[in-house]
Amino acid sequence: MIDLRNLSRRGFLNMGAAAGTSLLLPGGLIRPARAAEPLAAVAEENAVIAFGHTGPVTDEGWTWSHDQGMKAVQEAFPKLKTLFVESIPYSADATRTYRQFVSEGANMVFATSNYGDFLYDVAKRSPEVAFYECDGRNPLENLSTYYLSHWYPTYVTGVAAGLMSKTGKLGYVASFPVPSVFSGTNAFLMGARSVNPNATIQVVVINSWFDPQAATQAGTALLDNGCDLLFGIMDEAGYLQVAEQRGAKAVMWNTDIRRYGPKAYVSSIVIDFKKYYVEQVRLRLEGKWTPSQTLLAMGAGVDRDAWGETVPEEARKQADAIREKILGGWSPFTGEIKDSKGNVKVAAGQTMTEEELYNWDWSIEGVVGL
């Protein structure tokens, strides 16, 4: 687990100023402005833990993975009560749902997606409740953020993709132009370009995280356009099935869903929040909870899945060698990196910091449509 407190300071200056709650200490340490008094301990039998999800828990993807986390919490602390609501829209309804959690006595509220202001509006009015925002960027005194450094396994699968794609044209089914999508497309293409410098990636944005029909259409359009390997950030298996039917390949997200397209399946960015959730709930129950900012590292919450049956031995070997190298501390996100307009954004020899990767909001050269 990477604790963001030990990471460099740029960007967090802005975050702290925006949230008005964080103080930057020398060396890039982030601490809450009020010398964080931990929230009071809660007896297990009185504790209420709530989860607010963006999709259905049956999606076999993102939301399912978080639901597994909740089940791990239930197993570790069988006496506490859990609540969850699925498919919360990114609208004022989210505020209402999170308020309802609080009014039902929740001690901890996990938002498994970044609901932004809809969540902060509730958190600011409920200082005794510990809030969490997955993929969040605005820590508050009672709100922790947590996410995955998914760009590393994405780079690894990108290497395999670069070796497997015959046309060098990759496709990406995107939700919204948000940092996860920028870091996903960029890391994937950088991996592919490390073995095929002419590779490009074409992006289709479908304005949803869970819309199997739109994802399927987007996948079809990308293949029609000459792409032969698809990646994306969907909570379900839509474009994998398209790739299987069309004899193309696909890299997925969240879980091992190879049974929907065993021939097309290359790998998946697999995620696991169980350990993190159990640990955080333990802190709250024991009265040691203070806000934190966490990125689960490759091998400790996020990783590539076991390779698909049609991935050639050579591609596996080369990609896994890169994975070992990254685990050993090497970063592929080292300059020179140009944006899609040709401007040098990262100078030669300079390595992007963890929070620059987290907040990536521009496309590298070779990305089309984002």
Partner: protein, 350 residues
């Protein structure tokens, strides 16, 4: 003597009210039976909903916040109905109003005391402009406004998605791309409920009063119930139609301005939360009465809020939608049945 059932064009108020109550009770009973079938305890759930909604200012504030846009989108439909027009485009006008208000807020500097009224006006103009083409098409070419207003909803929805994910995108990174936070908030009135709520009520009362007590309102009502008669009596039907439809669009646009400046604070796709379409339901529940809109919006707000409470109680979102649908379905049937009366007739004597 024979007995027959006859439909009357208008339902007596007592019958209408009775039909409403019976319909809601029946819908809840059916929902309860279904819930009991799935193993939940309907009584416990009902108790939970009542406690969470009315037992604390928390629940009432949530309802107030939901009701605010519903009052205005409902009023928008009800106003157009007065002159016999169906404005199905409340959703699009809502988006257009929110879009215009956001543009003013983000790109014109100024203190909130000046900017909020300006955003209000921009919202109203945005909504009115969005219904302008359907209005002119209806007034001058007799193009059915039901279709044109509906289709423009999709244009407005996508327009807002485009600006929020494109030119006006705030790269800060929420799961759903949005614009930057607006620099001006409508101040809070009670708890989390902003001043849009009392304003929406005042606007409704004003519109109802204008329609009920002015010559213009009278002519609009006549024109709505019988356009031929209105034209024959020398009333400027076309002018009234245009004004009423623009007013209808402006009201929905104001709803959008309230939502973005009071509740959401950022323009984003999906900001309407279907309030435009739900406004049609509100107007139907209100039976086209401008003041009835307040009651209709309150009922709809309570139903929507109950939906959220039920979800935290472990009910699936689809189940909640089904219950909402049941209530509206039974209400619609009840409203229709209220028009019927049993008539006894003496056979004519030879």
């Amino acid at each position: 003597m024979s007995v027959r059932v006859q439909r009357f064009p208008s339902a007596p108020p007592s019958a209408a009210l009775a039909a409403r109550v019976v319909a809601i009770v029946l819908a809840l009973l059916v929902a309860g039976i279904i819930l009991a079938g799935t193993g939940a305890s309907p009584l416990k759930l009902a108790g939970q909903v009542i406690k969470a909604t009315f037992g604390s200012s928390f629940g009432l504030e949530d309802v107030g916040l939901l009701v605010t846009p519903l009052i205005l989108t409902g009023l928008s439909v009800a106003v157009a109905q007065r002159i016999g027009a169906w404005n199905i485009g409340g959703e699009g006008q809502f988006y257009a109003g929110a879009f215009a208000a956001t543009g003013v807020a983000l790109f014109i500097p100024g203190p909130s005391i000046v900017m909020l009224p300006l955003m209000f006006v921009a919202g109203a103009i945005g909504g009115a402009l969005w219904i302008l083409i359907p209005t002119l098409a209806r007034a001058y070419a007799d193009v059915n406004e039901l279709i044109t207003t509906l289709l423009l909803n999709f244009v407005a929805t996508l327009l807002v998605y485009w600006v929020a994910t494109g030119p006006w995108l705030d790269p800060g990174g929420q799961a759903l791309a949005t614009t930057a936070r607006l620099p001006h908030d409508i101040p809070e009135f009670w708890g989390i409920v902003h001043w849009g709520f009392p304003l929406a009520v005042v606007i409704t009362i004003l519109v109802a009063a204008v329609l009920a007590f002015t010559r213009w309102g009278y002519e609009v009502r006549i024109a709505g119930s019988n356009p031929q008669a209105a034209k024959y009596a020398g009333m400027p039907f076309r002018r009234h139609l245009i004004l009423v439809m623009l007013l209808s669009g402006a009201i929905a646009g104001i709803a959008g301005m309230f939502e973005v400046a009071g509740t959401v604070h950022r323009l984003q796709g999906g900001i309407s939360n279907n309030f435009g379409y739900l406004g049609i339901m509100v107007a139907v529940l209100a039976r086209g009465s401008a003041l009835g809109v307040l009651a209709g919006a309150a009922l709809m707000g309570i139903i929507l809020n109950s939906g959220i409470i039920l979800q935290t109680q472990g009910l699936n979102v689809s189940t909640v939608l089904a219950i909402t649908g049941l209530i509206l379905f039974f209400t619609a049937i009840g409203d229709e049945l209220a028009h019927y009366r049993i008539i006894r007739t003496e056979p004519a004597k030879a």
